[in-house]
C-alpha cells in the first residue's frame, strides 16, 4: 500500500523542526517511530503535505532522572525503556507496560512520546502516564509549554498539541517512597490492541499511600483517569475495603463498548478484576501476574 505523496524533510535540529511546523501550518506531521503514523498514511486516514522526520536529530533520545522527574526524550523507543535500569528500578508501572506494547520489532522503533501524540484510545502509554501524573513538554517558536497528560489527551486521536508545536519530551514525577506499579492488559494475541488495560500506581511511605494513580485503556474515547478511586487509596490505604471501593469506582467510570473484542459488560467486569488484582498484589496477597514474571526474566533482552 503506497501512502499519498508527501514532501520529506529530515532536519538535524529542533529549531529547524519548529520553522517547518510554522511554515506548513498544520499540514506537516512529525515522524518519530512511525509505527502508528505510517499505517495511518497507508490507510489514507492521514494525508500530511510534509513529513518531518526527526530521527536524525541528536539529543532527543535522552532518558534520565533530574530534579525529581524522569525525563523521556521524543526518540526514546519502547525497547530502550524496557532495558533502562532506572525505569526497572524506580518506575515499575512503566517497566510493566512497555513489554506488553505491540511486538519486539515494533518496540524497537515506537516511542512513548509518539504514542501520546497519536492518542489512540487504546494506547497503553496514555493510561500509564495518566496514572503517574506525567506531562508533555511542547516547544514552538513562541516558547515552551508543559502540559499535564490529563489536559493533553482530549479524545480519540485528539490532543491539545498545537500544529506549530513539537512534543520534545515527556516527564514523570519521581517516586518519593516505595513505588508500586503494574499494568494489566488483556490482548487476544501479541500485538493486538488491549481488550482492556488497567494501570495502577502507588507511592508509599510505610503502610500509608502518599500518591495513587489508576487509569484505564480501551474502555472509552480516550484513556480514563479515575481520581475518585485514587482518593480512596490515599485516604484509606490499601485494604479489603478500599480495594473493593477502588475497583467499583473504576468500573463505574469505564465507558466500554461492545465490539469484536468483547461485550461492554465483560469489559467493565475486567476493569474491576484488574484493579482488584493489582491492588491485591500491592499488599502481597496476589502473586504478580505470571506474564509479568516472564517480562522480568527476559527484561534486558527484550
Amino acid at each position: 500500500m503506497y501512502p499519498p505523496r508527501f514532501h520529506y524533510e529530515a532536519p538535524s535540529s529542533v529549531d529547524e523542526v519548529l520553522q517547518l511546523l510554522a511554515m506548513y501550518q498544520g499540514e506537516a506531521k512529525v515522524l518519530s517511530g512511525g509505527m502508528s503514523l505510517i499505517p495511518l498514511m497507508k490507510l489514507r486516514f492521514a494525508n500530511p503535505s510534509c513529513i518531518i522526520d526527526v530521527n536524525n536529530i541528536p539529543g532527543l533520545d535522552g532518558l534520565w532522572e533530574e530534579n525529581g522527574k524522569l525525563r523521556i526524550g521524543a526518540l526514546v523507543r519502547n525497547r530502550a525503556l524496557i532495558r533502562s535500569e532506572v525505569v526497572r528500578a524506580r518506575y515499575p508501572l512503566m517497566a510493566s507496560v512497555a513489554p506488553q506494547i505491540a511486538d519486539p520489532l515494533v518496540r524497537g522503533r515506537s516511542t512513548l512520546v509518539g504514542s501520546l501524540c497519536h492518542c489512540d484510545p487504546q494506547g497503553d502509554w496514555g493510561a500509564v502516564m495518566l496514572a503517574l501524573g506525567g506531562e508533555v513538554v511542547a516547544v514552538s517558536s513562541a516558547g515552551e509549554r508543559r502540559i499535564p497528560v490529563a489536559d493533553f489527551l482530549l479524545g480519540p486521536f485528539q490532543t491539545s498539541l498545537r500544529p506549530d508545536e513539537f512534543a520534545v519530551e515527556a516527564r514523570v514525577p519521581a517516586p518519593s517512597g516505595q513505588p508500586f506499579g503494574v499494568y494489566h492488559k488483556l490482548e487476544r494475541k501479541v500485538g493486538d490492541f488491549a481488550t482492556v488495560g488497567v494501570a495502577v500506581f502507588l507511592d508509599r511511605s510505610g503502610s500509608s499511600v502518599t500518591r495513587a494513580g489508576i487509569a484505564l485503556t480501551g474502555v472509552g474515547g480516550t484513556n480514563i483517569k479515575v481520581p475518585a478511586a485514587e482518593e480512596v487509596l490515599v485516604r484509606g490505604g490499601v485494604d479489603d475495603h478500599t480495594i473493593g471501593e477502588a475497583a467499583r469506582l473504576a468500573a463505574e467510570v469505564a465507558k466500554p463498548q461492545t465490539d469484536q473484542r468483547g461485550s461492554a459488560e465483560y469489559k467493565r467486569h475486567l476493569v474491576s478484576t484488574f484493579v482488584t488484582r493489582a491492588l491485591q498484589a500491592a499488599i502481597g496477597r496476589e502473586p504478580i501476574d505470571i506474564r509479568q514474571r516472564r517480562f522480568e526474566n527476559v527484561g534486558s533482552r527484550v
Partner: protein, 163 residues
C-alpha cells in the same frame, strides 16, 4: 513528483538510490534494488515477513520509508550468509526443518540473527518472545525454535574453537 537521491549501505555495500519519499523500504529493496528475498506479507506491521535489520536491529520494512534509510545500514536475507558459507541461523533452519513454505523465513532468520547477536544463549522462552512479531502460518514454530537453538549452539561451538 519529488525524487530524492539517498545513500544507503545495503549488506555492507554503499548504494546510491533514487526514491520517491512515499516509497516504502520494502518496495525500495524489492523493486529498486531488485532483491526479492525480503517478502511483503500483511503490509500492516503484523506479520514480520518483511523484517530487515536497520543498523543491526530488526524492523518491519513495510512500516519504514525507504528514504529513512539515507545514511544508514540495512541487512536483508541476501546479506546474512553466502551459498558457500551459510549463516548459522540459515544452517539451523536447514538442519532442523525450520521452514515449510518459506514465506516467513527471511524475516524469521533476520530476527533470530539479531537475537543471537544480543543474547547468544537464549532460553526457549527468550526465543519465543523474540519471534513474537513474526508470524508463521505453516504453524512451524516448534521447528523454528529448534533451528534457532541449533544456531546458538553452532555459534557457541565456533567461539569455543577460536578461543
Amino acid at each position: 513528483m519529488e525524487i530524492k537521491q539517498i545513500t544507503v549501505t545495503v549488506n555492507g555495500e554503499p548504494r546510491v538510490v533514487e526514491v520517491e519519499p512515499r516509497l516504502l523500504c520494502v518496495h525500495m529493496i524489492r523493486e529498486v534494488l531488485g532483491m526479492t528475498g525480503t517478502h511483503l506479507g500483511c503490509d500492516t506491521t503484523s506479520c514480520g515477513a518483511c523484517t530487515i535489520l536497520l543498523d543491526g536491529l530488526p524492523v518491519k520494512s513495510c512500516t519504514l520509508f525507504g528514504i529513512q534509510t539515507d545514511g544508514h545500514e540495512i541487512t536483508t536475507v541476501e546479506g546474512l550468509g553466502w551459498p558457500s558459507e551459510l549463516h548459522p541461523v540459515q544452517e539451523g533452519f536447514k538442519e532442523e526443518h525450520g521452514l515449510q513454505c518459506g514465506f516467513c523465513t527471511p524475516g524469521m532468520m533476520l530476527t533470530a540473527a539479531a537475537l543471537l547477536e544480543d543474547n547468544p544463549n537464549p532460553t526457549e522462552d527468550d526465543i519465543r518472545w523474540a519471534i513474537s512479531g513474526n508470524l508463521c502460518r505453516c504453524t512451524g514454530y516448534q521447528n523454528i525454535i529448534k533451528s534457532v537453538q541449533w544456531a546458538a549452539q553452532k555459534m557457541a561451538e565456533r567461539i569455543a574453537v577460536h578461543a
